[in-house]
Amino acid sequence: MDSHEDGAPVSVAESLRLIEREQAQARRRLVPNLALVYIMWGVAWLVGYGLLFLRFGPGGQVLVPMPAFLPLATLGVLGAAAVVATAVTGCRGSRAVAGPSRVQGAMYGWSWALGFLVLMVLGAKVTPFMPPEYVQLFYAAGSGAVVGLLYSVGGAVFQERYLFMLGVWIIVTDVLGILAGPGWHSLVTALASGLGMILFGLIAWRRQRC
């Protein structure tokens, strides 16, 4: 039998190390590691909006010839994978804990669904009256607004400064993309928002590892 199992740690320094080790271990197990999720969303936006820009460029230009369905199909597939990863990661760990933080997480999760519900319903009503390039801008810019707002709100609720900054970054680049117009918005979203999320994911990954 290990004499340490029930005995006292032999020193102050050892006790403090033990506490820190256990707390870090507990956080790793209970706090979902969303780093991979952010990286997946970043890649989806970088590749998906990148293809949209190349196929439906500013002024209707085709910069790189490819089937018209390919950019949106790619964005859809990569986005669906990211949605699944988000749901799986978000729910894992929360089963082990009950109480206010689970309620908080569930409310936050539902806010995402509600945000996109509004966007879809509004889109169905108003986009039939828009030229095709503005339909694409409507959904892309609307998604950017929902994502950016919920990231910044998430930063406030969970006291994650980096998440708040990511939300602000996505909203700012979204606004700049809208002002630049259809086509350009895809480029701005791919490079600024997509790469921004990948960078944020890498930072989150490093912080989890430390």
């Binding site: 004499s3 340490h4 199992e5 029930d6 005995g7 006292a8 740690p9 032999v10 020193s11 102050v12 320094a13 050892e14 006790s15 403090l16 033990l18 506490i19 256990e22 707390q23 271990q25 507990a26 956080r27 197990r29 209970l30 089963r95 082990a96 804990v97 009950a98 109480g99 206010p100 933080s101 689970r102």
Partner: protein, 152 residues
């Protein structure tokens, strides 16, 4: 240079429960100096928490948000302890009113939840604060001793 005050909290904790720690604990080891290293043997700390297994339990529970509770199996997995062993330590912590254990049902499955009580959170914060204080005083004691050596 003497540092032999005792906080009332530490004395109360000592009265309330027999110390279980079997590690050699020279009396007043902390108060006398010079101290040879940072690894000072511990005396006078809350004996309910100051057993490695229960300290680990308290450390894990302390990471939960106030009001949250963790399921028994999840706590067992994080700690890597057997159910029997964990139950024994949880009972001791519950007797000291440091943790609350609630049994409920999720559907048909019975679930046991564990959480720190307000008193337990306070005791754990006090315990870690005492550790830091001891470590600081040991370090400054070491420096003072070093300076004295040079001076003579």
């Amino acid at each position: 240079m003497l540092n032999n005050h005792k906080s009332p909290r530490q004395s109360r904790a000592r009265r309330s429960q027999e110390p279980e720690a079997q590690a050699p604990q020279p009396q007043e080891a902390v108060s006398s100096q010079p101290v040879p290293s940072q690894d000072v043997p511990l005396a006078e700390l809350d004996p309910v928490i100051h057993a490695q297994a229960r300290l680990r339990v308290m450390a894990v529970l302390s990471t939960l948000t106030v009001g949250d509770k963790i399921t028994f199996p999840a706590l067992k997995d994080i700690l890597g302890m057997t159910a029997g062993n964990l139950s024994v330590h949880l009972r001791k912590l519950e007797d000291a009113d440091y943790i609350g254990v609630t049994k409920t049902h999720q559907g048909r499955t019975p679930v046991t939840f564990v959480a720190l009580t307000a008193r337990g959170r306070l005791a754990f914060d006090d315990y870690t604060a005492s550790l830091r204080l001891l470590l600081d005083s040991a370090t400054s004691g070491e420096l003072t001793a070093h300076r004295d050596d040079k001076g003579s």
